[in-house]
């Protein structure tokens, strides 16, 4: 039973890792590619780490949860990386399929006073 669960988790993780990379490889522009790795990170590595934790906890040598730490690390850092990458791409004005919002749309509202609470 446990073995099935483990196998399932492992394969799922691997599949999503693969799909993430696939997205990176085949999606048309940078912004769309950027979406690939986020799932490689989240569900892919996530389930693999859960599998690992489960595996080692059931090996007798006490519960092993330190995989959670890796996951925590990834969940904290990956979005920031993605955000910065997008920011960089935006700064470099990379070609994008999605129409960028009109100048006024973004820049116009810059100078509005910041209301405090």
């Amino acid at each position: 039973m446990l073995e099935y669960l483990l196998s399932l988790l492992i394969v799922t993780g691997a599949v999503f890792t693969f799909i993430g990379a696939l997205g990176l490889a085949r999606l048309p522009d940078f912004y769309t590619r950027l979406h690939g790795p986020t799932k490689a990170t989240t569900l892919g590595v996530g389930s693999l780490l859960i599998a690992s934790a489960l595996y080692f906890s059931t090996r007798g040598a006490g519960v092993s949860l330190h995989e959670a730490l890796v996951a925590l690390f990834l969940f904290m850092t990956a979005p920031v990386s993605a955000h910065l990458l997008a920011k960089a791409a935006h700064h470099l004005q990379l070609r994008s399929l999605a129409p960028l919002p009109p100048e006024a749309g973004l820049a116009g509202r810059e100078d509005a006073p910041v209301d405090t609470c």
């Binding site: 690390f73 904290m76 850092t77 920031v80 955000h83 910065l84 920011k87 935006h90 700064h91 470099l92 004005q93 960028l100 100048e103 973004l106 820049a107 810059e110 100078d111």
Partner: protein, 963 residues
């Protein structure tokens, strides 16, 4: 006084003279005279030993291991030379005191003179030939100082350098010769060498040895073709010429011939080489002397000629020839020294040495004239003067030698011709100077010199007469002793008399005298002829060509080799390593592949390997886009870490990962200040050869790795695996090796890291390098200095990373981790702070002084090592123990952990020191850190520029070469 002291006295005197001349310029002269007298007084008491037929040898040990001792020898020959050196030296010093002008530096002159005198005495009185050689070279050095005495004159400088070069070269040859001579004879002591003549003459190395020794002698005694330096040395003050270049130094060469006569002479090689050189020099000197217009030039060439005569005598090699040789050494010293001094007086009084202007001086200085006439008559070989006597024997010996050497008449004819020319130039010296009409616009009206300036000349002229008239009385005793010293045996039957009846030699003398007169009478056409063919006789032009050629060659070779190009340097280095490695490998035949069983390749590894290779090659192809190259390098580093993991090296993987990221950060920091792209065509660089070399190097490395990997081996690893836990108290063997088994390596390693940090800190000190205000595409930088998300995350990340670092540090001894990795994790966490909040913000919050941190780390590691000394164990001996505390439970403490803590501190300190000061360059170079600009309109470069006009200007210059 002992011989060493006699030799030492002038050297000490030189120092005294130099020092005392500060008190008053004349003191130097008196001091020098006193010193000479002292040396003389020291020598004379020892003189009766040689007269009693004994040789004094005094030695003190110096380098016994190679048979080189300070050994001094006083026999007849040495005594004669020592007396010449000191006696004539004394006269010269008296003379020079009046000769030198007010502005001349007396101290320097007399110091040099005494230095030379000491060196010369050393030559005369050496028993050990290596020691003799040392003094030999010292005469060259001191004569360099004396010839260049008037340093402001170019001819003086060049003459001095020429003399030093030629005689120095001879000295080097002599070193070679003496080494061989000592090797053959089995000792460097003259007594042994002179006793083993037969062994020397029959030894296979005899000829090379003889050639080298003769090179030394001939250069010193100005024998053809090395004679040219002597006329050029005439730029020296006349007392120097009189002393060095007539009486003493140039005699060192012939002295050497006399000294080694019993050991080297008596072979055809000797006769041909020595006799040949002597004959040519004799003729050449006599001929050229006649045509010199410079008084000293004439004397110089005549000196060359007389030296040739003496050399020829030793070349003839009969005992009686040796007698004549020594005799002529004495005679030449007397008349030539006096002639030089006379020339000096004339120069001194008329202000010129050009015989075309100096005429009819008899009316102005008859007394000097009389002295000069006596001396030059002796030079010409006129009867009743000493020169005549030695020439008589010379002619006789030549006649005697002509038969065994199968010369027939040419040899006597040649020497007679030389004699005739000697008569001719002597005549010229008298007639052209003291008679021959009126002076031609001389600088000053000549008159007799001061009284004491003439005394030395008088003494020498008197000697010429006395010896010439009563040789048996005056010179016989010392000559006998000296010749005994030369031959190392009893004197041959000879008879110094003015009249031997009508002998062929007398006939030759008469012919020479008459012929000389005729030559002088018919000199006009001869001069014309000489003027036309002057060039081919001037060897110094050849010398100049040689020297210039040498300089040109040296320059060309050096420039060819040393282009100052780093690429060249690296190319040569790597190529050499390849050649050496290959040479070593193929020197013994063996298969490349070993017999060890290999691991099968699995898909993942293959893929990763291909990925790494692709990334590496990609980096090479894309290296002009520098950022891309950095990214690819990061990938290579990542895969390398995976390889370490794959092959059971977790610690390596961790280290590799940490190092690689910090390296990337460093590269980016640097890249900001460097062009973003390498120019497409940097310089015409031989990239084909570079590719070939790279491929060869790669092939070599791969082959080597393959050869080793496929071979079985035995290793010391077992010891570490078994002792790690019981001896080192750690399960992670790699870590235990690092902090314990080979902790000393690690101590050096962290010192390197600390030094890198400190060195970089020193390098960046006061380094001004403003960064570009826009990127390579000319785009202004993003105005958002510190993205909010990053800043927030950074706050969270730091505690986490520190926790992780402590974790890695504490467990490193037993599981993957350790001080170095922990340190880099800490550094990385702080780097994130810098990235998120900037250098100023972070630096202000950094609790420690980084230099102190590095220092404390090194200190911790060192003191941990030192602690063991107090228990009598060697440096770096570790200890550990397991403790059991209630609640906390079992835990281990090892001194190695403190060592590791030291490593941790150094790593953190050094890494941050580097990064911070790199970050600060820009800060320092930029007056006001860019203030945040409102979010500019997207997709509109023009407006962006409009927003940042003030930065636009500075941007261009920075990237002039990047675009």
């Amino acid at each position: 006084m002992s011989l060493p002291l006699v030799v030492l006295t002038p050297f000490l005197g030189a120092i005294l003279a130099a020092w005392i001349s500060r008190q008053g310029r004349l003191y130097a002269a008196w001091m020098a005279g006193a010193i000479t007298l002292l040396a003389l007084a020291g020598l004379l008491p020892l003189a009766d030993a040689p007269f009693a037929g004994q040789t004094i040898i005094q030695r003190c040990s110096w380098i016994p291991a190679v048979g080189v001792d300070l050994a001094f020898r006083l026999d007849g020959l040495g005594l004669l030379f020592a007396l010449l050196i000191l006696g004539i030296g004394l006269l010269i010093m008296l003379y020079a005191r009046y000769y030198l002008a007010e502005q001349d530096n007396m101290g320097r002159f007399y110091a040099g003179l005494l230095l030379f005198m000491g060196a010369m005495l050393g030559i005369a009185l050496s028993e050990n030939i290596i020691q003799l050689l040392i003094f030999w070279e010292l005469t060259s050095l001191s004569s360099f100082l004396l010839i260049s005495y008037w340093q402001h004159r170019e001819d003086a400088r060049n003459g001095a350098r020429m003399a030093l070069t030629v005689t120095g070269a001879g000295g080097l040859a002599l070193l070679g010769g003496f080494l061989l001579l000592g090797h053959i004879a089995g000792s460097y002591d003259l007594s042994v060498i002179l006793a083993s003549g037969d062994r020397i003459r029959t030894h296979p190395l005899y000829l090379p040895m003889l050639a080298l020794v003769l090179l030394g002698a001939f250069t010193k005694s100005a024998q053809f073709p090395f004679h040219f330096w002597l006329p050029n040395a005439m730029a020296a003050p006349t007392p120097v010429s009189a002393y060095l270049h007539s009486a003493t130094m140039v005699k060192a060469g012939v002295f050497l011939l006399a000294r080694l006569f019993p050991a080297l002479s008596g072979t055809p090689e000797w006769s041909w080489l020595v006799g040949g050189a002597g004959l040519i020099t004799l003729l050449l000197g006599a001929f050229v002397a006649l045509f010199q217009h410079d008084l000293k030039g004439l004397l110089a060439y005549s000196t060359i000629s007389h030296l040739g005569l003496i050399t020829l005598l030793f070349g003839i090699g009969t005992p009686l020839a040796a007698v004549a040789g020594v005799f002529h050494i004495i005679n030449h010293a007397t008349f030539k020294a006096s002639l030089f001094m006379a020339a000096g007086i004339i120069d001194h009084e008329t202000g010129s040495r050009d015989m075309r202007r100096i005429n009819g001086l008899w009316r102005y200085m008859p007394y000097t004239g009389a002295l000069a006439i006596v001396a030059s008559a002796a030079m010409a070989g006129v009867p009743l003067l000493n020169g005549f006597l030695s020439k008589e024997i010379f002619f006789a010996e030549v006649l005697g030698a002509a038969i065994p050497l199968r010369f027939g008449w040419p040899l006597p004819a040649a020497v007679t011709l030389a004699g005739a020319f000697a008569v001719a130039y002597s005549l010229r010296f008298i007639h052209d100077v003291f008679f021959n009409g009126e002076p031609v616009d001389l600088p000053k009206i000549p008159h007799e010199p001061p009284r004491w300036m003439k005394v030395p000349v008088e003494i020498l002229a008197a000697l010429c007469l006395l010896v010439g008239i009563a040789p048996a009385l005056i010179v016989e005793p010392i000559l006998a002793v000296a010749v005994a010293g030369v031959l190392q045996e009893s004197l041959p039957e000879h008879n110094l008399a003015i009249w031997h009846g009508f002998s062929p030699a007398l006939g030759m003398s008469v012919i020479a005298l008459v012929g000389g007169g005729l030559i002088y009478l018919g000199r006009k056409p001869l001069f014309a002829f000489y003027e036309r063919h002057v060039e081919w006789l001037r060897v110094e032009t050849l010398y100049d060509r040689l020297l210039n050629g040498l300089f040109a060659l040296a320059g060309a070779l050096t420039r060819k080799l040393d282009t100052g190009s780093l690429q060249r340097l690296l190319f040569v280095t790597i190529l050499s390593a390849l050649v050496l490695g290959l040479a070593g490998f193929i020197s013994v035949p063996a298969p490349l592949t070993g017999v060890r069983t290999r691991l099968p390749v699995d898909g993942v590894s293959l893929l990763a390997a291909l990925g790494l290779i692709a990334a590496a090659i990609g980096a090479v192809f894309l290296h002009r886009q520098r950022l891309v190259a950095v990214v690819l390098m990061g990938a290579v580093g990542l895969v390398t870490a995976l390889i370490f993991i794959r092959f059971s090296a977790p610690d390596l993987a961790l280290t590799q990962l940490a190092v690689e990221v910090v390296t990337v950060v460093l590269l980016l920091l640097a890249l900001y200040f460097l062009p973003q792209h390498s120019p497409a065509k940097p310089h015409p660089s031989p990239w084909v050869s570079h590719v070939l070399l790279a491929v060869a190097a790669g092939g070599g490395a791969a082959a080597l790795a393959w050869a080793v990997l496929t071979r079985p081996y035995e290793t010391i690893a077992g010891y570490f695996l078994t002792n790690s836990v019981p001896g080192g108290g750690g399960a992670n063997v790699v870590n235990v090796i690092l902090v314990d088994f080979r902790g000393y390596d690690t101590l050096g390693e962290i010192s390197v890291l600390a030094l890198a940090g400190l060195g970089i800190y020193a390098m960046l000190d006061r380094l001004y390098l403003p960064g570009p205000q826009r990127d390579a595409e000319g785009r202004a930088w993003d105005p958002d200095l510190h993205p909010a998300l990053l800043a927030t995350l950074a706050r969270l990340l730091l505690p986490l990373a520190l926790l992780m670092a402590i974790f890695l540090l504490l467990r490193g001894h037993n599981l993957p981790g350790g001080g170095f990795i922990a340190g880099l994790v800490t550094a990385a966490a702080l780097i994130v702070q810098y990235l998120a909040n900037g250098v100023a913000w972070t630096h202000a919050r950094l609790p420690w002084n980084l230099h102190a941190l590095i220092g404390l780390g090194l200190l911790a590691a060192t003191l941990t090592g030192l602690a063991s000394l107090t228990f009598g164990y060697p440096f770096l001996t570790s200890t550990f123990g397991h403790w059991h505390w209630p609640v906390i439970g079992e835990f281990e403490l090892a001194s190695a952990m403190v060592f590791d803590l030291g490593v941790y501190l150094v790593v953190v300190g050094a890494t941050l020191l580097i990064l911070i000061h790199l970050g600060l360059i820009h800060h320092a170079s930029q007056p006001a850190a860019a203030t945040p600009i409102p979010d500019p309109p997207v997709r509109d470069g023009g407006k962006r520029d409009a927003l940042t006009p003030n930065l636009a200007s500075t941007g261009r210059g920075e990237h002039g070469e990047a675009r």
